[in-house]
Amino acid sequence: MINNLRINKNNFIDQTIRISFKFNGKKLFGYKGDTLASALLANNIHLVGRSFKYHRPRGIMTCGSEEPNAIVQVGKDSSLTEPNVRATEIELYEGLEAFSQNCWPSINFDIGGINNFLSPLLPAGFYYKTFMWPASFWEKYEFFIRHSAGLGKSPTKPDQDLYDHQYVHCDVLVIGGGISGILSAKLSVAKGLNTMLIDDKDYLGGSTIYQDDDIFKINNENSNVWLKKQIETLNKIPNLTIKHRTSVAAFHGYNYLLARENLIDHLNIDERKGKIRQRLWKIRAKKVVIATGAIERPLVFSNNDRPGVILSSSIKKYIDYYGVKTGENISLFTNNDSAYETAISLNKSGVKVKVIIDIREDSNSILSEQVEKSGIKILKGYTVIDTDGYKRIKSFDVMKLSKDGGSVVGNKITYKSDCLGISGGWTPMVHLFTQSGGKLKFRNNDNVFIPDENKTPSKQISVGSSNGDFELDDVINNTVKNIKIFLGLDKNDFENLNIKCSKEKQKRNIWLLPSNKPISKTKPFLDFQNDSTAKDVKLALREGFKSIEHVKRYTTTGMGTDQGKLSNMHALGIIADTTGTNMGDLGTTTFRPPYTPLTFGAIVGRNVGKFFDHTRRTAIHDWHVKNKAEFENVGQWKRPWYFPKNGETMHQSVQRESKAARESAGILDASTLGKIDIQGEDASEFLNRVYTNAWSKLAIGKCRYGLMLNEDGMVYDDGVTTRLAENHYIMSTTTGGAANVLSKLEDYLQTEWPELNVYLTTVTDQYSTMSICGPNSKKIIKKVIPNLDLSDQSFPHMSFKNSKINNVKCRIMRISFTGEHSYEINVQSNYAKDVWERCIEAGKEFNITPYGTETMHLLRAEKGFIITGQDTDGTLTPSDLQMDWIIGKKKYDFIGKRSLYRSDTIREDRKQLVGLLTDDPKEVLEEGAQLVESLDKPIEMLGHVTSSYFSPNLNKSIALAVVRSGKKLKGKKLIVPMENKNINVTITDTVFYDKENKRLNA
């Protein structure tokens, strides 16, 4: 029974532009201006999804962002498909393809629907209770649970769309383009303030813009006509920016807000190419006006979730705005006056309203009297107790309410209807206010939480129905009055408007409506998306959950993609009623950003792919690329890892590079090491305080290795520092520690030792460093710098000379991280590649071999040199590393000194650095592997492997490890238990190669 439910009367849909789209593979059409939801309803399609837990058929229930049911998968493309999109918010475009979610094999026949009949077995906390024991079974349950749960499908390929971020500053930000937002913006721009007006729809005017009835008049015009004229004057105001299709996601402190603007989702696919899809606005506003309106509440009664049960105000919008009838035979069920507005709209459009069920006894307002006059039947003091129909509501049962509203009396009456509008009153949208840190107060007479103007954290104001004003005269008068004070305005045009509207006379609210059946036999849904019912909330309370936050998590009420926009108030109300608490005392759950879901694309903006993080390349990078280096990421740096030749594996390359460096000559690009230039008359004293060893006596032209601790005594960084002149040093740090070391040193200089005259400058990028090592390194340097005296007397180990390579000034240091005779050349970075190539050329006859970080690690491990961050992890003291020799015991103080003899740091059973040799010399240990003494359970872990390599120079496997009391355990046999074998190892000295350091001067 597909028929067109479009009426030919309206100002908002362009019925000259037909748009075709597909839903679940079926070709349908709508018009320009439709949402997917309105187009589906025009095609008489209500059933759009299955519920999460019981797989009950669900239909479109609202017309906005609060929609719990009509969430669909849009598009089929594996990189552009988007799950969990609200059909009520997608603007229709040519070629739109949407699918129902959470149903299999199809929306009309869903196997999971069997859960509906099992529902007595699936109470709140079912999964928690059932799948806890035995714990080891979880792996088996998980597959089935994950398979049957879940909403849409994620795209499987990278997103091809463009996203953008933009900052904006304004005097006044107005959130919401309804009547109160428009008035606020007009007042703000009239004062000359730089104003931004944001609305999530493609049009302005909120719900007033289609309120076309002479009950609601402003200055003798129907309210929609008056508002339309106001909106027209907004065009071309230079100090006003209007953002359509933009939704504020987050309101942070200090008036910092995030808003997502949709730029192309409403366009036809072929018009989108090359355009930005979404822009995330980062807004800093001096003042914020929240005019986000209110959303209608449903009513909670048994089987209130059938397709065809729709919020009453949404029925009104579908007929007045989209010109779509949500049924041929509509009834309304309400506890307030707004359903009567819907009845008037339907009546005018020629849709028969069968009956209005009003739980109030007496509601003789202008609105209700007008409806009564039109001959629509009204049952006062009645309630709906149940509905019937599976994929669409067919009928509903009504009974009279008792005086106290706690039960039903009399006989059941059944009405046939294909659509039931429900209205349980209104909930102000206070999400953004509370996100910003504002506190709410509870208004008892109509059960709403509204912003407490005395507990507002920043310069902001809530106006209109988001501030709890629901009647047209209150909305306008209070908005104008409050904005006048907020913005400090003089007289204005809106102060004495002649406003005519209906006023609600009676209020009555029952959170859980009574039924003629015991509650256990009913299904009164609260959270439609997560399938939680009033029964679940009551069960949670019986089981001892008291806090609203706990009840929420236990029952999952309010935890769907709609974040409980429709369900939270009823859950609170039912808890308050059941426990005899005042709702105001109970408080609400926390509203957290985002207000509506954000795409990952909008969050990351342009920071994807190569823009995700900075990449740092050394000045010699191009040479490495040309020579086929494999690269390793070290922080943001790209460092050559190894240089494979002729299809070598990494292992083969590293073995070759390591042998070459020890047998002839190797060259390493060490430019990434941090370099800090230290100058000032107190530079020596400064170094004394930051390093563990003594510095005052270091002669000019000499280098010294230093260890830097944290104040807690743990090793933080290390490196060689060279005294260039009396008051001038250059410090080198680890690659990864460079920025932090500089910050730490700055911190001490500025805050603890401001009396020291010392200046720190980072020169990591300005200088490039290449290290040439091996027995032939001296000959190569001799070739590159023929006139430099390289004798050990003139240029001993741990000293430096200024020199020139082909007229390029350089600093040459004789320092070694490999244990070989080595030179480190530092040159200005823009000459580095040239100098590097000269060294390579000069070294050709000695088979100079470029090596990467892996060989560097291997060579230093052979010598037992630590790498901070690999062999240390912030829990090791110098003594733990067997480096007691570097502690300046005579020094009065240095960073971390006092901590070296705390009761904890002098324990002898601390983990300490040792060497390890495997009994089988070919067996290479895994870094991170655990060390144990025996395999008897419970197994005690004694430590772990920190570095491990196969040494080609020793022709055996070597490793460094930290082991409890390791210093005392030399010669001890330990076991490294692996998944499929146990490896026997022996604790040794940490130095494996050239223990006498003969090679340094070889």
């Binding site: 942070h252 402190g253 200090y254 954290p457 104040e711 911190d747 500025q750 006092r898």
Partner: protein
């Protein structure tokens, strides 16, 4: 994301700064003369107040200067900003 009034640069976004924890904890002049407990007091003990807290901040992506901030941790309101070495303008 709050706005911090750097005493050297003026008002800037929080993202330019890093927080260095509680302020006015002076490094002892003679650490070697302290007992384990006294040293531990300096090293480890920090307040975690809900309310007015004195903090060190560094304009790390700006002038790189350290300074002090008086912040109410319950609502991020900044009551005062002052340079290193200066006394807190409020108690």
């Amino acid at each position: 994301m709050f706005i911090i009034n750097c005493p050297y640069c003026g008002e800037r976004d929080q993202s330019e700064f890093s927080c260095g924890g509680e302020a006015h904890i002076e490094r002892p002049k003679q650490p070697t003369e302290l007992s384990d407990d006294q040293w531990a007091e300096y090293l480890f003990m920090r307040k975690n107040i809900k309310g007015i807290q004195f903090e060190r901040w560094n304009h790390i992506h700006g002038c790189r200067k350290w300074f002090n901030v008086v912040r109410d941790t319950s609502n991020d309101k900044i009551h005062a900003v002052y340079k290193m070495g200066e006394r807190p303008p409020i108690k």
